[in-house]
């Protein structure tokens, strides 16, 4: 924790203009990640985790906009950069991979050509050198016979291979930070295991930091050093992975744990969370989780709880924590 963070997101707020006025998709989120470390961001659909990653890259689609906050990357505020400079950061110092590699690759060009394009945009090399870099990048992501694969089109590759190509493309520009938004969600579990191992090996080789966005608690547990749990646009709990998993404090985090069926457990019922995530245009007053929370009381319906320390480097936004102290 002593090392200066590579990426330091400070109190960022991203809003979308709708007929009901401006609604926040990300509402005052602060997170950071140090070089060589992995930050896992977990949450369900609509919690704002993808909008957060798009905010870091300044790629929030209209009618959304970043209303306030700072995104410090190597000490520079990305939100204050001119668009031209931002463009060299995107895909350069910060790489990004998405869930669906088929929609992120151009179907009418060979994959090698696409990697070369990225390399030519960010590095001062010739087309011939770029080809060499592309082949080398494919080799690094363990694609067999890369000299041949560079000539192939995305549709000729399997889902796992396509995701490897995306990773190769991101890595060809030697990023300091890789943002991976649900990188294995569309893949089968044995292929997922291959890709996660690959990401870990590449991180050890290059020392890059990873921001991993996922809904899968298993994937987070395996990959992340630090974990942030998001709900309805806010971080509700954050800390070292061992603390968030071993000493979960927020009732939403606990509800997620109760909801996943365990491979080692045969109990009859899952401890589900009642209700659904509130839409950003209709957020409840007080704690945003209170209508679904088993522990909510009158105070929770009025006061938005701040993130408060619950352990070393471990914070949670719950007025009722620790919940075991509440009389049943």
């Amino acid at each position: 924790m002593s090392e200066a963070p590579l990426l330091d997101i400070r109190d960022i707020r991203t809003v979308f203009r709708t007929s009901a006025g401006e609604v926040p998709a990300v509402d005052g989120v602060s997170l950071s990640v140090a070089p060589g470390r992995t930050l896992g961001i977990v949450g369900e659909s609509g919690c704002g985790k993808s909008v957060l990653s798009l905010s870091v890259m300044r790629l929030v689609p209209r009618p959304g906009r970043i209303a306030s906050g700072q995104v410090l990357f190597q000490g520079r505020d990305l939100l204050a950069l001119p668009e031209g400079e931002m463009r060299s950061v995107r895909g350069g110092a910060i790489g990004m991979i998405f869930q669906e590699p088929m929609t992120s690759l151009n179907p009418v060009h060979p994959v090698g050509w696409q990697i070369e394009e990225a390399v030519l945009a960010h590095r001062d090399v010739s087309r011939a050198d770029a080809r060499g870099i592309a082949i080398e990048a494919l080799r690094r992501v363990r694609i067999p016979a890369p000299e041949r694969r560079v000539e192939e089109y995305p549709h000729q590759l399997s889902g796992g291979m396509r995701q490897r190509v995306m990773i190769a493309m991101a890595l060809a520009c030697q990023p300091k930070l890789l943002i991976a938004d649900e990188p294995t969600t569309a893949l089968d579990v044995t292929i997922q295991a291959q890709i996660l191992d690959l990401l870990r090996a590449l991180q050890a080789e290059t020392g890059m930091a990873i921001v991993l966005i996922t809904h899968d608690l298993g994937v987070v547990a395996e990959m992340a050093d630090e974990v942030a749990v998001m709900y309805a646009g806010k971080v509700v709990e954050r800390g070292p992975a061992a603390a968030v998993f071993g000493d979960a404090q927020h009732p939403y985090t606990l509800g997620l744990f109760g909801s996943i069926p365990r491979l080692d457990d045969e109990s009859d019922r899952l401890l589900a969370i009642e209700g659904t995530v509130p839409p950003p245009f209709n957020l409840p007053a007080g704690c945003r989780f209170n209508p679904r929370c088993a522990f909510a009381d009158a105070r929770c319906r009025e006061t938005l709880p701040p993130l408060a320390p619950v352990g070393p480097n471990h914070i949670a936004a719950c007025l009722r924590a620790p919940v075991e102290a509440i009389a049943a």
């Binding site: 997922q192 071993g246 401890l271 659904t276």
Partner: protein, 358 residues
């Protein structure tokens, strides 16, 4: 033992691959399902699991007779329905109902939920207008929705609620067997848990049988009595859930279970990872189909196709070497209870919920 409700034998489905527009030429065959056999008893849940392209959904569609089998038999309640003419399938369809993965795509956006639930009863001529409306309200309550939801359209519901409507529609005609094709895969974890709980409750109350198709082995463990693991159109292992999760015998089952990430940062997944991709079902490898990725493959595996053999009562494996392959230590299967602090809080959570329900 009484006769199983559903008994499938040597079921195959081959899709021709053709080239040309006017003069088509057959250039190959996709062996999507290639000799699958299983039984499903009344009130039981059998899950078919495997990765994309293993044939699990095709098998579900064959049982539903949404696809015509190439060969094999599907005995349902004692009668072979594999070769029944489509025009005579209606009484069968009333007893075997599907629930699909995508509740957005499987509900008609122009019908109210009430109409969606009434339609199958009209098709099967069940009751009259008044009794159907009463039944709609009963069905909505059964799946945890409210009678006023009948007036609403599918787009007004969340994903989890839509899947409840999909389940209610299947229940409308009081089926014996539900074929559930990835019913919770499109849902968020907290919603997935609600729907899984609902399916278990309904099974208990109504005595339903489930053929459950899924790729998530943790969900499968939770809902199933027995499990069949599929690979490239074949069943490679079937077992009761306890046996399968305690000691998977087929190398593919072992790899599949070993690949699941465990929600515990202190425990790392086993490092032996299956290399490569699933081969094309158009040109499956000879012998054992898994031999190209199997760490134990011997000469015999490349030549001779292994039959499903019974290794222990109820535990069948299609592997020549099943006896000699040791059961590996799979970290994801070892008990990994939550920490004392989390266990205490989960208990408090469960107690509050029970209190609120009472």
């Amino acid at each position: 033992m009484t006769e199983p409700l559903l008994s499938v034998r040597d079921l195959t489905k081959h899709f021709p691959v053709e080239r040309g527009v006017v003069f088509t030429k057959r250039v190959g065959t996709v062996r999507a399902v290639d000799g699958v056999s299983f039984d499903l008893a009344e009130g039981e849940t059998l899950s078919l699991v495997g990765e994309s392209g293993c044939g699990k959904s095709t098998t579900a569609r064959l049982v539903l007779r949404l696809l015509d089998p190439t060969s094999g038999t599907i005995r349902f309640a004692g009668e072979d329905i594999a070769k029944r003419a489509p025009s005579t399938l209606k009484p069968i369809r009333r007893q075997i109902q599907p629930v699909f993965q995508d509740p957005y795509a499987s509900l008609n956006p122009r019908m109210t939920v009430g109409r969606i639930l009434e339609e199958p009863m009209e098709v099967h001529e069940i009751g009259d207008a008044t009794s159907r409306r009463a039944r709609v309200h009963e069905l909505l309550r059964l799946v945890g929705l409210a009678p006023y939801h009948a007036e609403r359209f599918p787009h007004e519901f969340s994903g989890g609620q839509r899947q409840r409507v999909g389940i209610a529609r299947a229940l409308a005609v009081s089926p014996k067997l539900m074929v559930l094709d990835e019913p919770v895969s499109a849902l968020d974890v907290s919603i997935q848990a609600q729907v899984v709980n609902l399916l278990k409750d309904l099974q208990q109350r109504l005595g339903l049988s489930y053929l459950f198709i899924a790729h998530d082995l943790a969900v499968v463990r939770h809902v199933s009595d027995r499990i069949a693991v599929m690979y490239l159109g074949e069943i490679v292992e079937t077992a009761g859930k306890r046996d399968l999760y305690r000691a998977p015998r087929h190398p593919y089952s072992q790899a599949l279970l070993g690949a699941i990430p465990v929600p515990d940062p202190a425990r790392k997944r086993s490092q032996a990872i299956l290399a490569g991709d699933v081969p094309s079902p158009m040109n499956p490898p000879p012998g054992c189909r898994f031999h190209t990725r199997c760490p134990h493959a011997a000469a015999r595996c490349r030549e001779e196709r292994p039959e499903l053999r019974e290794l222990a009562p109820g535990h069948r494996v299609a592997c020549h070497l099943a006896e000699s392959i040791p059961t590996p230590l799979i970290p994801s299967l070892a008990p990994h209870p939550p920490s004392a602090a989390v266990a205490k809080r989960l208990a408090a959570y469960a107690a509050r919920r029970a209190q609120a329900a009472a």
